[in-house]
Symmetry: C2
Subunit: 325 residues, 2 copies
Amino acid sequence: MTLPATVAVDVGGTKIRAGSVIGGVLAHVRSVPTPATAGAQAVLDTIAEATAAVIADTSGSRGAEFAWRIGIGAAGVIDPATGTVVSATDSLPGWAGTDLVSELTARTGLPVRAVNDVHAHALGEAAAGASCGTRSSLLVAAGTGIGGGFITDGHLLTGRNSAAGHVGHVPSAAASGLACPCGGTGHVEAIASGPAILNTYRRLVDASDSPTSTPVAAPVPANTRELAAAASAGDALAVRAFDIGARALGSALGGIANVLSPEAIVVGGGLAAMDEIWWAPLRAAFAAELIPATAGIKLTKAELGQDAALIGAASLWNAEQRETR
Amino acid sequence: MTLPATVAVDVGGTKIRAGSVIGGVLAHVRSVPTPATAGAQAVLDTIAEATAAVIADTSGSRGAEFAWRIGIGAAGVIDPATGTVVSATDSLPGWAGTDLVSELTARTGLPVRAVNDVHAHALGEAAAGASCGTRSSLLVAAGTGIGGGFITDGHLLTGRNSAAGHVGHVPSAAASGLACPCGGTGHVEAIASGPAILNTYRRLVDASDSPTSTPVAAPVPANTRELAAAASAGDALAVRAFDIGARALGSALGGIANVLSPEAIVVGGGLAAMDEIWWAPLRAAFAAELIPATAGIKLTKAELGQDAALIGAASLWNAEQRETR
């Protein structure tokens, strides 16, 4: 008798992580660089190689016969019904239009299911993380962008064009007039993402520079991580930039909570790793938007880190899992 | 052999409408005033009397033996799983806490299912109206308040506390600082509802009054209907008030479309009865928020008018219907 086993793969613009999931337990995780500039075929080859390596590692340590299948969480808008990349950003040239299921089945001989990586993240937290056991949950990934995934009664909401979950693209008063990566203006991602918070900081620094001011002694933060360190060290403008972004995101999520009324809202991504400098204004602005009927909903921190997308991708093979449109 | 037949009842703060639904066809509709100030027991008695009258009318005209049941769409937050009124506004004193199922079964001997009236409206448009045949749809009721109901794969999203669908309570830059009926501030309902648009008009009139201006000859509109007539007659400030409200609502709905990516967004309620003075800015502001993946989503007008809630309440008895939380 063979035991069902899944190779879970998280395909991002810079790295590919893969591991085995057997009985809900993730193991043998490996990470390799994504050959993004080499095109989609090279990325698919790398996924297939990582899959073979995970299977070899697992078989070597367990010695059992497994019935393998592949679960993918990948960057881009992915249609889970067909396993095709509907659209993708410039970080993966040629990725749009790729049929993940047939391409990877051709390379591995294994059945394949695929979903967007943030959607996989949401499925993972619901399967084994901060929203485990809830009837409905919203996962918000706050980092370079602001994305999300909504799950109700165990079903991921994919929506028309598999486009559901773009929680970063709701209007925000704080982002008024700011260009958003989507091509629009004024969306919360344009003030609340990591790069947006760095931009806010630069504007604040520019605005505080008077012609007679002395030169700033400390080095100017070059990325969101350095800005977070500056905020922790007491840089008032850095604290203020995170406060502005966190309040804008909290307010937007409060409005979304009034529309979806989920049992849990789980926040992950790079920004969620911050301390109260980011979380306190996020929670305050969120709570201020809630109507009496939704007032008990809490924002909680994601628990599974980068493993969430792997566990979620593997959960595509759970008997009860299917997407809802 | 008996034929299944449903008495559908729409319970509002001012009137109760009831009719028979047999094979999806609504007939024998009657409307009676809601004895709201007399309390919940009087309202329940009136529902039971209207139910009996509808059954008598139907049996008289058809002469057949029917297996009757009752489907209710009622004002207030209703838990469809128990048929209980979770909370209600002052328009129905004592309504909160009422167990609609046991109270009405005790009065009629018939099985009862109940849902919120806006949720019933959404179910009705999805069953036989503007969103019929879609996999997912959002119904927006824009009138005295701004409410909504989201349906995916035939399931109404009720959410935690049955509170899902409060689309009027998302933040809106245009409503910044304005008090919302929910107790919060800055929600789109505070600038886009009928009463809010009338308030905007009054502010515009006040702001345009200079000490040297001549008195306005036309009577000041006393309600949203009169304001709509003034706008149609060319009152520039009335047109502007509707424009401000419609743009705020369109922008909010564009953001919600990016989160839910529904196949259809259907707009009903009193404001939807207006012409392009309201619809043109609504559609323009909506389209401006959409990301490429949601750009094809359209706003369409609800088709069933006040019958939508009756048809939706009856659909609670369809075999495939159940709520999703």
